[in-house]
Structure formats: structure tokens, C-alpha cells
């Protein structure tokens, strides 16, 4: 019953939990599809100090049987209740190499500079950073693209207030990284005809394997970088984030979808020697056609 539209973005910012479209009753055999293109400015990787501008493909399809594609995730709505949404999903986790996180869309900039410096596996012992390479991913192993398994559970506290939970498993070098993203979304449909604004705030909790993959430094990587030690972040809260999405239905078929997100790394992730800046932002806008 929910009419709120969440155009999930096939973003190169890989660790953002995919948003699932709302329960979507429709005639048997029908579907609701958005396809579009736009631009986005996103961090080169989580914790990078620089943003890059990239093309933004937009894809969202919902079928009457409950199966949906939303950006880089595929899922299945199993709930029959309009105040609840849950089901399994698969999410494509992106590749990260020395150029940053990539889904193979657009180009990436080259990093230059000196070596990475970190000295201990304890986060609070990383005090010296002045000699860091200006590309901190230079000596890091490539994190390969993975398909993650998971599920989602969303609950409507009221028609305008939704609690979302997305759990994914399978990330990381050993395919055992888990991440739970929980967010509260407030949906405003009455701002003006054809305009919908969604405010959201959320937190991500990860296990050690996940954090080690994206924010850790192995002994081999440290050796390559000429650094003194490795870094093994533990499990815990990885980041907190706030965002706003604005959808403008220009016509029955055309929609302009724009968004902005600010996220701040916390805990062991924040203390990683890979992190240049704990607070990152991303903005995007895209034009989508509704089929």
C-alpha cells in the first residue's frame, strides 16, 4: 500500500545498504519499473578525503509476485501486511582496489604519493599519520566483488515513519563479513503536489570480518607499505549517517530523484589508518523514466 518511492541507486559507494522499495500491491502480471541516469559525487572509498563525480545508473523494478530489483540488490517481498516488509535479498558488494570502490561504471582517478604509516593493531596506538601516502589504498589487497546474502525487515511505526533494517552476510576476504544497517525514515508527501521528501538517519553495525576487510590492514599489506604494524579493527558500530531524498514527479512518466547523505565513521573504523576523513558526504541527482 505504500506509495513512497525509493529509487535505489546503483551507487559506487558500495557499503551503503541498499534501500528496499516498499510493499507494492499491483495487478497480477504487472510490474512497476524505473530506469534512469544521473550524476553523483561520492567518496572514493569509505573514509576517503576526496570525492569523485561519476555517472549514476538508476534501476528499480517491482513485480507483482513480490520480487524486486533495486539498484544492486535483488529481493523478494514476503509480507502481506502493509505495515511490515520483510524478505530475503541478494546484494552485489563492490570491488575496491587502489583506485577506490568501483562498480565498473565510469572512470576512477589515480592515486599518487608515498607510503602508508601505521604502527600497531590497537586503534589508539596509531598516532603518526603525517607520512601517509596520499593514496592509502595503494598497498592494500584488492577486495573483490561479491554477492552478499541477506534480508530486510521494515516496520511502519506510522504511514510516515518507517524503521528499516538490512542485514547482509558474505562480505570480505573470507566471505564472512556481516553488516546490519538500521535506519529511521520520515516520509513527507504533502510538501507540494508531485514532491516527496524522505529524511533518514541510521547506524551500521558490523562484525570483525567486515571491519577488517574494509578498514583493516594485514601484516602483508603493512609490509608492502613499509609500515611498522598491522591494524585489526574489531566488531561494533561502523558508522552513523543522515540523509535526505527528494523525488519530483515531473510527469506521470518522468521523475527527478535527488539525494544527499552525510555519514561519519565511528569506532574502530574511524581509527583505521586507511581513513583520511571520518565524515564523508555524497550527493546525487538522476532523471528516471517510469515504465
Amino acid at each position: 500500500m505504500r506509495q513512497y518511492l525509493f529509487l535505489a541507486i546503483a551507487s559506487a559507494c558500495s557499503t551503503v545498504a541498499a534501500q528496499t522499495p516498499a510493499t507494492n500491491p499491483m495487478p497480477d502480471g504487472s510490474r512497476d519499473m524505473y530506469i534512469g541516469i544521473g550524476v553523483q559525487s561520492i567518496p572514493r572509498y569509505d573514509g576517503a578525503s576526496d570525492n569523485r563525480t561519476r555517472p549514476l545508473p538508476v534501476l528499480q523494478v517491482q513485480w507483482s509476485n513480490g520480487i524486486f530489483v533495486s539498484g544492486t540488490s535483488v529481493g523478494w517481498h514476503l509480507s502481506q501486511s502493509p505495515s511490515m516488509e520483510f524478505g530475503p535479498m541478494l546484494v552485489l558488494s563492490p570491488r575496491r582496489d587502489q583506485d577506490g570502490v568501483s562498480f565498473g561504471v565510469g572512470s576512477v582517478s589515480d592515486g599518487t604519493g608515498a607510503r602508508m604509516a601505521h604502527s600497531s593493531f590497537r586503534p589508539d596506538e596509531f598516532a603518526v599519520r603525517e607520512s601517509f601516502d596520499d593514496n592509502r589504498l595503494r598497498y592494500m589487497d584488492v577486495v573483490k566483488r561479491h554477492v552478499l546474502a541477506g534480508g530486510f525487515f521494515n516496520y511502519y511505526l506510522s504511514p510516515k515513519l518507517r524503521l528499516t533494517n538490512t542485514l547482509t552476510y558474505g562480505s570480505g576476504r573470507d566471505h564472512d563479513g556481516a553488516r546490519l544497517h538500521t535506519a529511521l525514515q520520515y516520509m513527507m508527501e504533502d510538501v507540494a503536489p508531485h514532491h516527496t521528501v524522505v529524511l533518514s538517519a541510521g547506524v551500521s553495525v558490523v562484525d570483525r570480518a567486515y571491519n577488517e576487510t574494509w578498514f583493516g590492514v594485514t601484516a602483508e599489506e603493512a609490509e608492502r607499505a613499509g609500515a611498522k604494524g598491522y591494524y585489526r579493527p574489531g566488531a561494533g558500530v561502523q558508522d552513523v549517517r543522515a540523509g535526505v531524498r527528494w523525488n519530483w514527479a515531473l510527469s506521470p512518466n518522468w521523475m527527478l530523484t535527488s539525494g544527499a547523505t552525510v555519514n561519519r565513521l565511528v569506532g574502530d573504523a574511524k581509527d583505521s589508518p586507511l581513513v583520511e576523513r571520518a565524515t564523508n558526504y555524497s550527493v546525487s541527482t538522476a532523471l528516471a523514466y517510469r515504465f
Binding site: N24, P25, M26, P27, G29, P55, Y155, L157
Partner: protein, 231 residues
């Protein structure tokens, strides 16, 4: 890099052009798909609803907006339907696969910003005008159960009564009966439905707490609507 550079310059220009065209072409419409998603929930609702009906309601958002002369039309490639609005702004909503697949629109002949669009669940009227009190309570409970189904914030609310809505004061003759006790329900001017502030109708409210569960309510004329009341 060349591709990216050209994208950076051309994409915003293309987007701007499309946006300008789209804005110029914008009309007063509501997406049929979006409305369908709201309305079909009632059709698929599996719990008791034999006392209930659902309409698509167009209600004024500001005092100057009126329902007089208002026309709602379903318009698509292969669909063209006039959806007549009753005196309370409600229309029977057709659930049509063809219109959904065409991405049809609900078009309004007025400025859309002045109106709200939403499903409205009301209690079915009877031709004989005689309503058993137990039926009205059951109808209100059905409506509340449905409301809780679509909006969990209604969990703490309770049924307090039903409101008979009329257009003319002369029609608003509603009597409550319980054994020898018989009294007309007071008629007041006000909005037709819970949660609305605009619109002036003649309303007679039957509060459950004021009457026995075994009585009757007799309406001399068929009301425009019978609305459940939750508190």
C-alpha cells in the same frame, strides 16, 4: 576520462532540458499506479469487512477550494473514464490492470495543490434506514481493524461511535431507539470525516457510550456517508 568529462558537461544540460520540458507539460494529475497501490489493499484485506466500503476521496485542502464542478477522470492510452464524485468528494475507484500497465493518471479539472487525495473507508448505508446498534458497533470495529492493519499507530484507538453525514439539514433526521427510550440525535454542522477540518455538512453522531448496545438507529433519509469515529 574523456567520457567522464563529456558526461559532466552534457548530462546536466540534457537533464535541464528534459526538466524544463516536463515542467511545461505538467498537468493536474495523480499517478493511477500510486492510487491503485493504496486502494487495492482494501480489496485484498482478508478480515471481516462486510459492513464497509472504500472510495477514493478528493477533499479540499484550503477553504476556497470547493467540490462543486470538480471532475475526476481516469486517463490513459487505452482508458478514458469519468469518475463521478459524490457530495462528499468520494468516487468509486476502478481497479483496472490495463490502466495500471498504461501508467494512466487521475486528472483533476482544478489546481491540484488545493486538494488532498486519499482512500476513505466508510460504513455501508441501508435502504431501509434501520441500523441495529450491534451492527454499527461491529462496523466501527471492522473499520478500526482495517485502519490498524494499514497504520499501526491506530493500535491504541477505540471506536467511539458513528457519524451520519447529510447535505441538507432537512434530511438529517436520525433517531436512536432503545426500548421505550427514543430520541433524535443532535445535528451539528461540521466536516464529514474524522481528521478533516474543512467542509460543512449536517452531521448526527451516534456515540456508543450514550446508548445501549441493543438499540436501533433509524435514519429517515439515506445519509451521504456513515463515518466511523475513533478516539
Amino acid at each position: 576520462m574523456k567520457t567522464l568529462t563529456s558526461l559532466r558537461t552534457t548530462l546536466p544540460a540534457v537533464c535541464l532540458a528534459v526538466v524544463c520540458c516536463a515542467v511545461q507539460a505538467q498537468e493536474e494529475w495523480v499517478s493511477y499506479r500510486d492510487a491503485y497501490k493504496q486502494m487495492v489493499v482494501f480489496a485484498k484485506y482478508g478480515k471481516p469487512k462486510n459492513f464497509l466500503q472504500i472510495h477514493y476521496e478528493v477533499s479540499p485542502r484550503d477553504p476556497v477550494a470547493t467540490l462543486e464542478g470538480l471532475h475526476l477522470t481516469l486517463t490513459g492510452k487505452n482508458t478514458q473514464l469519468n469518475l463521478p464524485l459524490d457530495a462528499t468528494g468520494r468516487a468509486v475507484f476502478p481497479l483496472l490492470k490495463a490502466a495500471y500497465d498504461d501508467n494512466a493518471v487521475l486528472a483533476l479539472n482544478r489546481r491540484m495543490a488545493s486538494y488532498r487525495f486519499a482512500p476513505r473507508v466508510t460504513i455501508l448505508t441501508r435502504n431501509d434506514g434501520i441500523y441495529e446498534s450491534t451492527d454499527l458497533r461491529a462496523a466501527c470495529e471492522q473499520a478500526l481493524a482495517y485502519q490498524r492493519f494499514i497504520d499501526s499507530s491506530y493500535g491504541s484507538k477505540k471506536c467511539s461511535g458513528v457519524r451520519f453525514v447529510f447535505g441538507n439539514r432537512a434530511d438529517a433526521l436520525v433517531q436512536a431507539k432503545y426500548g421505550p427510550r427514543e430520541a433524535p440525535l443532535p445535528v451539528v454542522d461540521g466536516p464529514a470525516f474524522d481528521g478533516e477540518t474543512l467542509g460543512v455538512y449536517r452531521t448526527a453522531t451516534y456515540r456508543f457510550a450514550d446508548w445501549s448496545a441493543q438499540g436501533q438507529v433509524v435514519s429517515q433519509n439515506t445519509p451521504l456517508a456513515i463515518a466511523p469515529l475513533f478516539e
